[in-house]
Chain length 144, copies 2
DNA sequence: TATAAATAGGATAAAATTATCCGAAATAAA
DNA sequence: TTTATTTCGGATAATTTTATCCTATTTATA
């Protein structure tokens, strides 16, 4: 469904969110350990999230990655997925046709709309805040 | 969502279905031309579909790929996807955790269930027959 | 100002996916 | 039985994705 990079990006964002609640910045090293991902690769993904303004980075000593506490409820999975995997999952044809629309639909065009809308709705209505709170309360986990 | 291999597999199956209606076998060459895919790679995918008994092959002169006309309505997208991409899309964790279930859910476990069920329902309830008929009637297309 | 700590980013490498090529095996028809 | 045709399957190559390494740049503090 999502690329590895996107999976890491989502999990990293959640971990950053948790720490941002407590005013703490985190490093790629801490993040990678917590979400069980390769550190350097994770760092690249964090850079992408910074470029897309999903998270914020502070260079230099005492720096790290953080998210504005007040924005947590407005950041949703959709933004993270788009930042890393692009919007292909939103707009791309399910069967890979370059041109696929109402006037020239691929064989699964209509069938896919339902699925895609469900996914879209989920991504757009799931905030980093709720995901972070679930982790904090022990209701969900970032690694196996 | 699906791999390229799977996209080709679905489109190829539909084209074979159309021809099987008329008792015609088709070659990888014809298929690749019709679905706009690399021929040799497509042939590999066809082999996989044969091994999984989704389609049938006849070797030698006057051979080719075909599907039993009477089975067309019972073959659904789910079978094709499972044959090529495996059942990761059904059972795999949305965030890639090795272990992710009700007792130890990833952050999006619950949210994903809805999306996955919608996809599953779509794949299991879409038959090759209906997809083939749509192509025949000009309601949908195999390439751009 | 010097130093240590931290992210940024380029260059590579490894692994997986996608794609190509070619000979072997099977089969219908001449 | 020979030939032409066609799928099968192994080897290899190209591309993309995933992953690593190293240096430059930034910045807080001593």
């Amino acid at each position: 469904m999502f690329s590895k990079a996107c999976e890491y990006g989502i999990k990293a964002s959640i971990f950053i969110a948790i720490n941002s609640y407590e005013g703490k910045r985190v490093s790629p090293k801490e993040i990678a350990k917590e979400i069980n991902s390769p550190q350097a690769f994770t760092a690249k993904i964090l850079q992408a999230l910074v470029r897309h303004k999903v998270i914020n980075s502070v260079k230099g000593a005492y720096g790290g990655f953080e998210i504005n506490k007040n924005e947590l409820k407005y950041i949703n999975l959709s933004q993270i997925v788009k930042a890393i995997d692009g919007d292909n999952i939103y707009n791309g044809c399910g069967l890979g046709l370059d041109k696929c629309d109402e006037n020239h639909p691929c064989p699964v065009h209509e069938k896919f709309i339902t699925v895609r809308d469900e996914l879209k709705h989920m991504l757009e209505n799931t905030s980093l805040e709720e995901l972070a709170l679930d982790i904090k309360s022990g209701a969900s986990f970032l690694k196996a």
